[in-house]
């Protein structure tokens, strides 16, 4: 371990370290974040849900998007797997189907950051995060 030789050292160190705590910090106040739930049931995993989730998490971390990704069970849209539910604070949740890693990034860039709707939304009138 290296000595912390100055107050700036500590600040720098904190910057480097806070990254690892991110998901815990985010879990502390999920209601103020964009909550993204990736369906991770067997069918989802089989259709590549894990890759989708990884892609989203990487993007969120890279661009410091105020969003938190959790995994969920089967949402009942097995025909459209992988599915991703996105809840932007103050808005109704939206479910996207047939999400590939590429689409996942697009969801973040367009829908989450800019509020643009993109293709692939599954119409729902029930079941949302934390209901």
């Amino acid at each position: 371990m290296n000595k912390i030789k100055s107050i700036d050292d500590l600040r720098k160190m904190k910057k480097d370290l806070e990254f690892g705590m991110n998901i815990r910090e985010k879990s502390n106040s999920p209601e103020s974040l964009v909550q993204i739930r990736v369906a991770m049931a067997t069918c989802g995993i089989a259709s590549g849900a894990r890759e989708v989730m990884n892609a989203m998490i990487e993007k969120i971390e890279k661009d410091k998007i105020p969003a938190v990704v959790t995994q969920g069970g089967c949402m009942g849209y097995c025909y459209a797997e992988p599915t991703v539910e996105v809840k932007v604070p103050g808005k109704d949740p939206v479910v996207f189907g047939y999400v590939s890693p590429k689409v996942a990034v697009e969801i973040l860039e367009k829908y989450v950051l800019n509020g643009e709707l993109i293709e692939g939304i599954i119409p729902t009138n029930y079941q949302s995060i934390n209901q």
Partner: protein, 597 residues
């Protein structure tokens, strides 16, 4: 650090460790590896989550899944179902005692909803043995801020302005205490952390030390800078091996990072830390006794003045604060005095940690804003009385405190209101009692403790508490008179008025407050020879209801003193003279034929 997508936080507090939480950590790690998710999910041991009733706890973030009473055997299912497939293991989720619903997310548990976690901010959140996690959560930033931006006096002013008061019992303003110590000139001063927690039923200090040891070290260094001390000593109960070991680990990490020692962070400030062990004497929670003990003597309190701030450890100015008080300090420095003083009541700022225990559904450690009512604590956070029984009283302040009743349920809890109600904050034990608890016996229990723990130095405490206890025993044994109750009152007042230290001055509180609030119950004992709660053995009368007795003789066989006689298949009788009121017959009877009065 690797980029994990999920963290599994396993409680490593004393309570949960007693239920094999270490084994759970191991199993979870094995299972994660087995399903190949070791790069996605990380298992961590944290400090206490506070929800000890249902331990061991495993919390999964970021989705805040809160698994309770997890056994090592459950780990496989958690990993395979939840971590791999995203399906929460429903049977392990917390079940709301009223709605019987499984709650998926800790954010929705009533237990946590009214809590504000300042002192416990890192407990159950970070790995206490990893300084990096502490630093990542702004750890040592408060120290850096103080060293870099404030003079000692400015630091003291912030603490003064925040309104923080000592959390160990008396509620003395912390900033003022620091200021007094800072003004006494000496070649050496000391900062002491009082971690000799001893109230039976209070364990917040231990939880903080186990769950967030660095916050205490940081706060002590801040205090050291403020008052001009370069040495810190943590006086900790030897019976807290886990807390001791976590503190030792934390100390080593700090030294390696240069956060303890010479020239901390290049600011020229030196601070060293040492541990001293308390060896089992409650009175050592009193600061002058604590100092005697640290010096290697019997832990007897000394007369004040001189106060420790003038002449403390080794005759040098010494500032003593308790663990919870210190735990608030870094947060106050970082977020400001105004933030802190915006929480709480007019004269009691911030939050208080309570150890909620007794006849309540959610036993555990809670941190709530000052000014919350007992009703909110007991019925919302605590989930109500166990077994649907009737609430009777809540004891706060441990052996120094008193009992609060139904009529106090809506009183906002703060230092002054508790004192006005005949109790005190104490270190924050909160023991809930129901209709089955005899208040005379409760007073006796506390006095037994005080008699055991009295140091013996001053006469009122040494002899007086003994006499209080003897009187209570007499009343519980059905031999008391109304004069005895009056004697208890006078003696209690005199002990409060004359005892040497805080222990003695508050020791009669459990008696006086129960006499005040439950006078009828005392009267029932002394005039009717009856214990309304049915707890006092000597006042119980066991009889057999002839109509219900089938003459099965199960009670005859259970009775250790052969007090029950009767023909087989005929109603039996209990000889009250011989009966020792052990209750064995009551437990054995399948026909509810034993009547207890």
């Amino acid at each position: 650090m690797a980029s994990y997508k999920m963290h599994l936080l396993v409680c490593g507090g004393t309570g949960c460790r007693a239920s094999e939480s270490a084994k759970i950590v191991e199993e979870l790690s094995v299972e994660i590896k087995r399903v190949g998710l070791e790069n996605d999910a990380q298992v961590l041991t944290t400090g206490c989550f506070g929800f000890c009733e249902k331990g061991p706890i495993v919390k999964v973030v970021p989705d805040n899944t809160f698994y309770t009473q997890v056994k090592p055997g459950d780990c496989k299912e958690i990993i395979e179902e939840h971590i791999l497939k995203g399906r929460k293991v429903k049977r392990l989720l917390y079940e709301d005692p009223t709605t019987k619903e499984h709650i998926e997310d800790s954010k929705h548990m009533q237990f946590y909803q009214k809590q504000i976690r300042i002192a416990l901010r890192n407990c159950g959140f970070i790995d206490p043995e990893n300084i990096d996690e502490y630093i990542a959560r702004d750890g040592y930033s408060a120290l850096a801020k103080v060293l870099g931006e404030y003079t000692p006096q400015q630091t003291i002013d912030i603490i003064k302005k925040s309104g923080l008061r000592g959390r160990g019992g008396g509620g003395f303003p912390t900033g003022l205490k620091w200021e007094i110590a800072s003004k006494n000139k000496a070649d050496q001063k000391y900062v002491v952390c009082n971690a000799d927690e001893g109230d039976p039923g209070a364990f917040m200090d231990r939880s903080i030390l186990e769950g967030d040891p660095h916050s205490i070290i940081e706060a002590m260094a801040i205090c050291g800078y403020s008052i001009g001390a370069t040495k810190g000593i943590i006086y900790i109960r030897a019976e807290y091996p886990l807390a001791i070991s976590r503190l030792k680990v934390a100390g080593r990490q700090c030294r390696a990072y240069g956060l303890l020692g010479k020239d901390i962070m290049g600011t020229g400030f030196d601070f060293e830390l040492e541990l001293r062990y308390g060896a089992g004497a409650f009175v050592c929670g009193e600061e002058t006794a604590l100092i005697r003990s640290m010096e290697g003597f019997r832990g007897e309190p000394t007369v004040k003045p001189p106060f420790p701030a003038e002449k403390g450890y080794m005759g040098k100015p010494t500032n003593v604060n308790n663990v919870e008080t210190f735990a608030n300090v870094p947060a106050i420095i970082l977020k400001g005095a105004d933030w802190f003083s915006s929480i709480g009541t007019e004269k009691s700022k911030g939050t208080k940690v309570f150890a909620l225990a007794g006849k309540i559904n959610n036993v555990g450690l809670i941190e709530v804003p000052m000014g919350i009512t007992l009703r909110e604590v007991i019925y919302e956070i605590g989930g109500g009385i166990k077994g649907g029984k009737k609430f009777k009283a809540v004891q706060t302040g441990g052996p120094s405190g008193g009992c609060l009743t139904e009529k106090h349920l809506d009183v906002p809890i703060d230092y002054d209101n508790l004192i006005a109600a005949g109790s005190m904050m104490g270190s924050g034990g909160m023991i809930v009692m129901d209709e089955d608890d005899c208040m005379v016996a409760v007073a006796k229990f506390y006095l037994e403790f005080t008699v055991e723990e009295s140091c013996g130095k001053c006469a009122p405490c040494r002899v007086g508490n003994k006499r209080l206890h003897e009187n209570l025993e007499k009343i519980c044994n059905g031999r008391g008179t109304t004069e005895d109750v009056e004697y208890l009152k006078n003696l209690g007042k005199v002990i409060k008025d004359t005892a040497l230290c805080g222990l003695g001055q508050t020791s009669p509180n459990p008696v006086l407050s129960t006499i005040e609030h439950f006078y009828d119950e005392y009267l029932a004992h002394v005039t009717e020879r009856r214990c309304p709660a049915g707890q006092c053995k000597a006042l119980k009368l066991y009889t057999i209801i002839a109509d219900k007795c089938t003459g099965c003789t199960a009670c005859v066989r259970a009775c250790p003193v052969a007090a029950i006689t009767g023909e087989k298949r005929q109603p039996h009788v209990i000889d009250a003279e011989k009966c020792i009121r052990c209750g064995a017959c009551f437990d054995k009877c399948k026909f509810s034929a034993i009547h207890v009065q």
